[in-house]
């Protein structure tokens, strides 16, 4: 099977071709890298660390209509995701793609979430391997990932300097390869080898690591441990660490009305918010940021693994990088290990 490459000068063309789908790629907006639906290829920016907001927002939008209705009319009009058509995410980092795989567990557990699952089905993920870790807080290798991980990706691109190695991984990937046909070129013979070398190099560049073995089992034993108070003291209770985490998936459901028309919609929610568990009576089972932080870590590193056998963290480092007060999941895990 001959490998293909995408020459850098042809990226624009390729994106043009792909923009017949719902195409998302990283884009620079006011200095911030965010996924953007691309109509003009020049909006895309492939020379980036990682996006601030993870690609989860493409398959699990921050606000999403579930159904619509007219007030007083019993007919409910379900939102049809199918209409959105094929979606391509171009340049997703391997950790974000892995994260989708993890979140799939949740949305397909027992009740099937039609919106999420349909969109996943419609989406092709074109990954971009991390030649070097986008940030010093990347720790994917500690939680089962890798800078070159192919998990959940349909295509993996590897930056070889002049060109990207284009590696189709799944059937969807193969299809995309066909779509791109003329934009792709035959890979030089050493491309795969070079890619392998780069992968090895990338792996060792991950500086901050932790041995997560045993953490899921240990966490429940530390319920009342002092450490929770210490690590959460500075927390602001904002939504950064959760909204920006590719594996966080909590949502709220609210009805909105516009004149006689209305919709029921869901929107991201965060376990770090005070009102997340607040009862109408004023009672709150997680009354302070200590309980909320504990829940966040436990959820990712204990509850989720106990239910789905996988840690709900891909080590993307966003929650560390973007936490305004330097609350650091690696430090917390370190303390869990040491406790």
């Amino acid at each position: 099977m001959a490998e293909k490459v995408l020459k850098k000068e042809k990226v624009g063309e390729a994106l043009k071709e792909l923009s017949k789908f719902r195409l998302f790629a990283p884009s620079k907006s006011n200095g911030t890298i965010l996924y953007k639906q691309i109509e003009d290829p020049s909006d895309a920016c492939l020379d980036f660390g990682n996006t601030t907001v993870p690609a989860k927002k493409i398959v699990f939008p921050q606000t999403e209509t579930l159904f619509r209705f007219m007030l007083g009319n019993p007919e409910l009009k379900e939102k049809n995701v199918e209409e959105e058509g094929t979606t391509v995410v171009f340049g997703i980092r391997p950790c974000d793609a892995r994260a989708m795989g993890i979140v799939d567990n949740l949305f397909s557990w027992d009740y099937q979430d039609p919106y999420y699952l349909k969109r996943r089905e419609l989406t092709t993920l074109v990954g971009l391997a991390c030649i070097q870790p986008p940030s010093i807080n990347c720790f994917c290798t500690s939680v089962g990932g890798e800078p070159f991980s192919e998990e959940n990706l349909d295509v993996l691109l590897v930056d070889l300097g002049e060109m990207y190695l284009f590696k189709a991984i799944t059937e969807k990937g193969e299809k995309l390869k066909t779509t791109l046909g003329s934009q792709l070129d035959e890979a030089p013979s050493d491309a795969v080898k070079k890619s392998g070398e780069l992968a090895d190099k990338a792996n060792v560049q991950i500086k901050r690591t932790i041995d997560t073995k045993g953490i899921p089992e240990k966490l429940p034993t530390l319920w009342e441990n002092e450490l929770w108070k210490r690590v959460s003291a500075a927390c602001l209770g904002c939504g950064i660490c959760t909204y920006l985490c590719p594996t966080c998936h909590c949502f709220d459901i609210q009805d909105e009305v516009e004149g006689a028309e209305g919709r029921r919609a869901r929107m991201w929610d965060s376990c770090m918010f005070r009102e997340y568990t607040l009862h109408a009576s004023g009672h709150n089972p997680r009354p302070t940021r200590r309980e909320r932080t504990r829940n966040r870590i436990n959820h990712k590193y204990s509850y989720f693994p106990s239910k789905f056998q996988v840690i709900a963290c891909v080590g993307c480092g966003r929650c560390i990088n973007l936490c305004p007060v330097n609350i650091d999941i690696l430090e917390i895990l370190g303390q869990v290990v040491d406790a």
Binding site: L71, G72, G259, G282
Partner: protein, 677 residues
């Protein structure tokens, strides 16, 4: 428990007034499609008896629990329809009106546009009425008594009027005697009656009136509560003289070791007194007072072998152990009559007041011309600071009688440079009066008055001014720029602005006609009663024209110079006005309080006090509550004080204080339906 809102919408034709430019049928049709509207009807005259009966019937038959009337302005018929609801047994606040006449049919000829607007207004009323809550119209009882603060002529007059009407009055005076400034005056313009002659009987009446409880040498410490129910705390300062025993004989004062050493305030420091004293012979009550600061025994713990006064007092009234006493009582209404201060002429250094003994202010001059004053009514140049050690000293120095006296008007009035833009309203007249009195006493005196304008607006004033001018008094229009001494004469430098000639005028004595100022201690009362001040810093009336004796706070009134400069007739007139306003309350015995008041959600209030600051009626205070074990401050509204303006609701960031019937939850839906086209 709440059932579903069942709204009836009633659209009035108002004859053809509405129907002419609003398609009433269409509005009815539209209204009946709105959520929760059970019935929508139209009628020729909704406010007519059959119109109202229609509503009552529907309420009774269809179980309506909210009513929208779309007709004329709520300013016209809201009370009418509220009564309709009451008749039907519904809370009157479940009513909302849509003004489709004054603000629709009468102002828009275009029937399509008018109808469209009428629909929107009806919809807005419907969404609001749906969210209205039942309110209670409360009445509170009025305690049949009044507090009057300040016993100058204004306070005295108000006290007498209210007491005569049969209500209890507490009259609180800061100084040892009632009387205020008027007691210090000699004769009063324009009639020249002697001040003491007309004031003293009133002072005595106050003391003897069975309905008046006189609290002199006392100060209000705290007032809480609201109209009809004020709780008052007064500190009666210790006089160290048992007033029940003191006969006012004055034996004590004679022997006081400090006698003649302490400037007497009543005489503006021109006369002297001892540490135990009575401010002036006609003082009411005629009881002696020991001035704590100057009494040797009280300030140093030792007065010779033993205090002489105590020995001298046969009644045994002097008791150094006496303490301040706090008295508390309830009143229904309050009149503030705390009067004024005179302008401190030192603030105009060019006039050298305080530098030369022969520059005096007008109040000092009143004491000088007063027969009961320190000079026995002889106009002499006062010698300040030279303490009369012995009686003989006085004779030695001999009084210096001025032959040339100059008055300067408008000192501290109409003068932006000292911050007083206003006219003090009495200086022109009392200057004329004083000039006349000098002429009486020293017929050959040369008298000059520097003035800016002469304002003689009152009854008999112009006549009086004319008379004085004819007595040979020289009026020079001009504002002196400087006073200095040349030899033993004073020189007044000025410009005669009528002739535009600069002049230097030599004289023996200058009298500064100082203006009236808000009292320097006025904040005490502001803090206790939360009164507002006008820009001139006098207490602010509720409306300058229509409510001139009222304050923003129900049940609190103003009388006399505390509200602004006045002469005696005006002060008395206002006192009578305030008294009658107070008596209306006292006589009716009840006051209705606003129903659309504000209310605080204590669970979310953050105790910032923004609402407290903006409330013009001081109806909100911060109180400490226990929130799940923690002490926190939250706002609380006194519903008897709240007038329902809603300013607090807009000031509160956390949305914790809401005006009933105008809550955010009630207004936002209105905005929503009116915003949509």
């Amino acid at each position: 428990m709440n059932g579903r809102p069942k709204i009836g919408v009633y659209i009035c034709h108002c004859g053809i007034n509405i129907a002419h430019t609003v398609d009433v049928d269409e509005v009815v049709k539209f209204a009946s499609t709105l959520p929760d509207v059970i019935v929508a009807r139209d009628y020729r005259y909704m406010c007519s008896d059959p119109g109202q009966a229609l509503i009552v019937e529907d309420i009774n038959n269809m179980g309506l629990n909210r009513v929208v009337v779309a007709s004329c302005s709520p300013r016209m018929h809201e009370p009418t329809f509220r009564k309709t609801l009451i008749t039907a047994g519904l809370n009157p606040y479940f009513l909302e009106m849509a003004n489709i006449r004054e603000q629709c049919s009468w102002v828009h000829e275009d029937k399509i546009a008018g109808t469209e607007k009428a629909k929107r207004l009806v919809e807005s009323a419907v969404v609001k009425v749906r969210r209205l809550e039942p309110l209670e119209v409360k009445e509170v009882d009025v305690e049949p008594s009044a507090l009057i603060i300040g016993a100058g002529i204004a306070g005295i007059q108000a006290a007498l009027d209210i007491a005569d009407a049969g209500f209890k009055v507490y009259l609180v005076e800061k100084t040892p005697s009632v009387g205020g400034h008027m007691a210090q005056l000699d004769k009063t313009f324009p009639t020249l009656d002697c001040s003491a002659c007309i004031l003293t009987p009133k002072m005595v009446d106050v003391a003897n009136h069975p309905n008046i409880e006189l609290l002199t040498y006392s100060q209000v410490e705290d007032i809480s509560g609201y109209v009809g129910n004020f709780e008052v705390k007064v500190r009666k300062k210790s006089r160290f003289v048992d007033v029940d025993k003191c006969t006012g004989c004055g034996a004590c004062a004679e022997v006081c070791r400090q006698a003649g050493r302490i400037p007497n305030e009543f005489d503006e420091g021109l006369g002297m007194r001892g540490a135990i004293y009575i401010p002036f012979p006609q003082a009411v009550p005629a009881k002696y007072t020991i001035d704590k600061e100057n009494c040797l025994f009280l300030s140093r713990g030792k007065c010779g072998e033993s205090p002489k006064c105590q020995e001298a007092c046969e009644a045994g009234a002097i008791n150094f152990e006496l303490q301040d006493e706090i008295v508390e009582f309830k009143v229904g209404t309050i009149i503030v009559a705390t009067g004024f201060d005179i302008f401190d002429a030192r603030k105009k250094p060019e006039y050298a007041y305080g530098v030369y003994d022969n520059v005096v202010n007008a109040l000092e001059f009143e004491r000088l011309v007063s027969a009961s004053g320190p000079t026995g009514g002889n106009v002499v140049i006062p010698q300040r600071g030279k303490k009369k050690k012995k009686k003989e000293d006085e004779e030695e120095l001999g009084p210096v009688i001025p032959k040339n006296i100059t008055f300067i008007q408008c000192v501290g009035s109409r003068d932006k440079s000292v911050g007083n833009e206003y006219c003090s309203r009495v200086c022109c007249m009392y200057t004329a009066k004083q000039a006349h009195l000098v002429k009486d006493k020293i017929p050959d005196a040369e008298i000059t008055i520097f003035y800016m304008d002469v304002r003689a607006f009152g009854k008999g004033y112009e006549e009086f001014y004319d008379r004085v001018r004819r007595e040979g008094i020289r009026y020079i229009r001009g504002n002196p720029s400087e006073i200095f001494k040349r030899g033993d004469k004073l020189v007044v430098k000025a410009e005669d602005t009528l002739t535009a000639t600069p002049l230097e005028h030599e004289t023996d004595m200058v009298v500064l006609s100082v203006g009236l100022e808000p009292r320097s201690d006025r904040r005490e009362i502001i803090d206790i009663l939360k009164l507002s001040s006008s820009p001139d810093l006098f207490y602010l009336e509720a409306h300058p024209k229509l409510r001139p004796v009222d304050t923003a706070t129900d049940g609190i009134f103003l009388a006399g110079c505390c509200q602004g400069p006045k002469d005696i007739p005006d002060a008395v007139g206002q006192a009578k006005g305030a008294a009658s306003a107070a008596m209306i309350l006292l006589a009716s015995g009840k006051v209705k309080v606003e129903a659309q008041t504000s209310v605080v959600d204590e669970a979310t209030c953050r105790g910032c006090g923004f609402c407290v600051e903006v409330c013009p009626y001081s109806a909100i205070e911060l109180v400490e509550i226990n929130r799940a074990g923690w002490p926190v401050m939250v706002a609380r509204v006194n519903e008897a004080l709240c007038k329902g303006c809603g300013a607090c609701s807009a000031a509160c960031l956390s949305g914790s204080i809401q005006q009933r019937s105008f809550r955010d939850t009630q207004i936002l839906p209105q905005i929503e339906v009116l915003g949509v086209k």
